[in-house]
Symmetry: C3
Subunit: 113 residues, 3 copies
C-alpha cells in the first residue's frame, strides 16, 4: 500500500490538491493508499472559508474514505484562527513541517500539488 | 545513477523546469541520471502551445537525450485537449499523481521546480 | 536526527521558508535536525536584496545555529549576481538541482515551502 503526503501551503492550490487526491484514489482505490494532506502557512485559511463550501464538502467526503486532513497550529495562530471552530474532519498538529518530516521519515512519499 | 522526477503543475513553471533539467544534465551527463518530467493539472496545456515553440523544441531535444516527458490524461481531459495531437515526444499516462507515486516508490527522487 | 532540505525557487516564498525552518527548529531543537536551504532560479536574488534586511538577518541567525544556506551558481550567473558579494553565511554550489539530488540521495527529506 502506498503512503502519500500532499503538502498545501497556499489557498490557491487547494482545488488542485483535492482533485489530485480524488484522481489518485480512483486509480488505486481507498484501500490502495494511506493519504494525508497537510496544510500549513496561509493554506489553513481555506478550512474556515465558508465561500469554499463545495471544496470543503469534497474534502469532508474524502476524509470519510480515510484521507486525513491536517492543519498546522503555528499557521492557525499566525492567522488568528480559532482551533475550536475548525471543521471536525481536520486534525490540528503542533507544527506542519514537523508533521511532514515525521511522516516522510515513516515512509510517506511527498507531493506538492 | 540518479533517478529524478520533476513535477510540473502549472504553465509558468515550465521554463524553470526545463532549465533545471538542462543544468542538471550538464553536471551529471546524460548517462548519469534517469530523468522523468511529469506534467499534470494546467501544466499539460504547454505541450500544445505553439507560441512556446522554443520551449517545446528544448523539451524535444532533451527527450532525444533520454529525458522522458509525461502528460496526465486526467489533466488532458479536464482541459479538453486531444491526446492524439500531443507532441510525439510526450507519453500520456492515466494519472499524473499515480505516476509520480509509482516512480517515487521505484526510487526516483522528487523535485518541484 | 532528521536531515531536511528546503527548496526555494522564487523570492516570494522566502518568508514562508524561513518561518518553516524557525518553527521546525522550535519543535526538534537545533540538535534534532540537520537542515539545508537550497535557493535556485530567481530565489537567489533575495540573498542580495538589502530591502529584505530583516529577512536576511533571520537567515543569518539560523545559519549561526547550524542551518546551511546554499545558492546555485547557475542562477547567480543567470541573474548577473556577483558571487563575491554574496552574504558570508551563504555557500555557493555549482548547481542547485544537483545539490538537491545529491542531498536527497544522502538521506535528506525534501520540502518545498
Amino acid at each position: 500500500m502506498f503512503k502519500v503526503l500532499f503538502h498545501v501551503s497556499d489557498n490557491e492550490t487547494w482545488p488542485k490538491a483535492v482533485l489530485n487526491v480524488q484522481n489518485f484514489l480512483k486509480d488505486v482505490g481507498k484501500d490502495g493508499a494511506e493519504i494525508e494532506v497537510v496544510a500549513n502557512a496561509a493554506a489553513v485559511v481555506t478550512y474556515y472559508n465558508q465561500e469554499k463550501a463545495d471544496l470543503l464538502d469534497q474534502m469532508k467526503q474524502l476524509s470519510e474514505t480515510g484521507v486525513k486532513f491536517i492543519a498546522c497550529r503555528n499557521a492557525l495562530n499566525a492567522h488568528q484562527l480559532d482551533e475550536n471552530s475548525i471543521p471536525g474532519f481536520v486534525k490540528v498538529v503542533p507544527g506542519g513541517i514537523t508533521e511532514i518530516v515525521a511522516k516522510q521519515a515513516a515512509g510517506f512519499l511527498y507531493i506538492k500539488p
